[in-house]
């Protein structure tokens, strides 16, 4: 059985937009892989290669989305 690809989401602890996005996904039972930007330089660099504002979502098809909701998000 093929493994379904999940979106990767880069987040920061305490980022309101990140919390809102994950709450929405959890309510919708969306599966995702969360990577915490504040915990390592390697993950932060990885996130920066995709964008400037968390949350950053990298979809399995390569699409990238930054921020969530009605605010800009958090600059990294």
């Amino acid at each position: 059985m093929p493994v379904e690809a999940k979106p990767v989401v880069y987040t920061i602890r305490g980022c309101d937009a990140c919390v809102k996005l994950l709450r929405k996904w959890d309510a919708e039972h969306v599966e995702y892989e969360e990577r915490h930007v504040e915990l390592s330089q390697a993950v932060l660099d990885e996130a920066r290669s995709h964008g400037d504002l968390v949350p950053i979502v990298v979809w399995p098809d390569g699409r990238v989305e930054q921020g969530f909701g009605d605010t800009i998000g958090c600059f990294i």
Partner: protein, 211 residues
Amino acid sequence: MPTATTVVTPARFAQGLIYAGFLEKATVNHDKFEESYRSVPLTNADLSFFRRAAALTNGPAKILAIAEAWCGDVYRELPTVVRIAEATGIELRIFYRDENPDIMDEFLSNNGKSRAIPVFVFYTEDLQYITRFTERSASAHAGLAAAMDEAKVQLNLPSNATFGNLPDGDRQALLRELIARIRPHSDQWRKDAIQEIRELLSAALKIPNAG
């Protein structure tokens, strides 16, 4: 203004980190902090003003900073305050925001809705509140708003478009356009932050904003 019953007591203030301790604990952005520290745009006139303010009996003797190392506004602005503290002898103590929610709660912005950082709170020697600076200068906020309007025009989006009411594709395009427009202003906004801190202290201490 902070609440009448502040959690920032002398004992609590003393628990804050000095800059070296903050950096030691930081898991990210050491290079960014170093680069910002090296390029702090403080002029001699700025330093003269801050030294004069710090010399007053009711002047700033302590600065409480609320920060997180991952935050772009923090690694751009915190080194400025570090330099001011070094040049004036003001005692700087730094608190990680998410480990100190009670302190953060005293200094919320956006009508109590935002935990924006950095926050720099200036106190007298006996911890009487003087003033505070939050996140970025007023000119940076205005610049962001102007960049947003220009980006909407560039993308042919309605003037009432917001991040909350745009379809995903347009929203992402607007973000990219906005980021491209504000990036060139970063250095000027660091200078503006210094001017704003001077204006805040000048107004609170009733002293001329002169070098």
